[in-house]
Point group: C2
Chain length 206, copies 2
């Protein structure tokens, strides 16, 4: 899907469209429009049409989008028409929640590997999987061919563990540690830090 | 701080600058530059200087930024030079992790109210606070004057609980339920959905 360059900001909106379409489909809906999607998402209908038109012709003038068809197409574009195995590193409260999170299953991901450094946790089970020793992480991830990791270790360990993940061949890291991590250019990183979102809102409060 | 209009995208970068400066300060650092901040964050030095210049003169040509001074200024700008009380609604795995999250304390927030609908959870303690019955939520939030809530209830309940939060006077909602919620224009909403971030990366994977 990288034949044509699509701005990262456009790519970032596609998962929002997909999520909204999947929810509509679960409600038994068959057809939607860029207007309706736009209202649900706070994005203009013109923007949605423009974003989608970068990838093909998905709707007919006047009849809107077939929800299941557009869902399938977006899943293909985002490469989530398969299920990706994911490792969770650091099984504190956040890692625990990620290991048991119900929202991954029908959206292209499943957690299959858990790692921690704490001897008291290693060998115990969370969400059906045994927490493994982080000292075996590189070989376990390599053996399993896992390309995606979620990082929920303390800030002090985040870069060191990141280096191991890169060594293991991980290509995408979702970092929950509130610190920026350095990776080679071919590795993708996204960040989740609730405080960044909260501070972005307090700016507007009195 | 709303005297001058600053684009939301600029506001959104300020918490990143603040976080980086606070980490530097913890390492005992005194001075930094837009170059160094830019390298750590993957943002151009020019962009950082431009963003900060919207709020005043924080650095001197050639000597860089005083870290503690710029930290103080950013905390004022983002209104986190005080501690905001926060309610967590829905104490499943995610809510549990939020209630116990250690990363809020020195960044302007503390969790003080927990709500759930499950009789088995109501009355039990998480992170030092008792989980209260969601049916008392509106009055409890009003009494406490809490303006910020984190929403970690199932998708099916997200809009209904949002309406109660708005009724209670909450002005900022951080929504962990993977669905868009509707609020009056004066209420701010931010979203955290790990799948959106993961799908944004799988687009680039093979």
């Amino acid at each position: 899907m990288e034949d044509k360059f699509v701005p990262n900001i456009v790519v970032g909106r596609l998962p929002l469209y997909l999520r909204t379409l999947q929810l509509m489909s679960q409600e038994g809906r068959r057809v939607t429009s860029s207007q309706e999607l736009g209202e649900k998402l706070g994005i203009s209908a013109a923007q949605i049409r423009k974003d989608l038109s970068q990838f093909g012709e998905f709707g007919k003038q006047g009849t809107g989008y077939n929800i299941d068809y557009l869902t399938d197409q977006l899943r293909k574009i985002l490469c989530v028409n398969k299920v990706w195995d994911v490792a969770v590193v650091g099984i504190g409260d956040v890692g625990h929640a990620l290991a048991r999170y119900q929202g991954f299953s029908d959206r292209g991901f499943r957690v299959v590997l858990l790692f921690d450094i704490d001897p008291k946790k290693i060998g115990t089970k969370v969400g059906g999987f045994v927490i493994q020793d982080i000292s075996n992480m590189v070989s376990r991830i390599k053996d399993a061919g896992v390309q995606i990791a979620m990082l929920s270790v303390p800030v002090d360990h985040a870069q060191q563990v990141t280096n191991l993940l890169v060594e293991a061949g991980v290509e995408a890291i979702l970092n929950y540690a509130p610190i920026n991590i350095s990776v080679p250019p071919e590795v993708h990183v996204q960040y989740i830090d609730p405080v960044l979102h909260l501070q972005r809102m307090t700016y507007y409060l009195d």
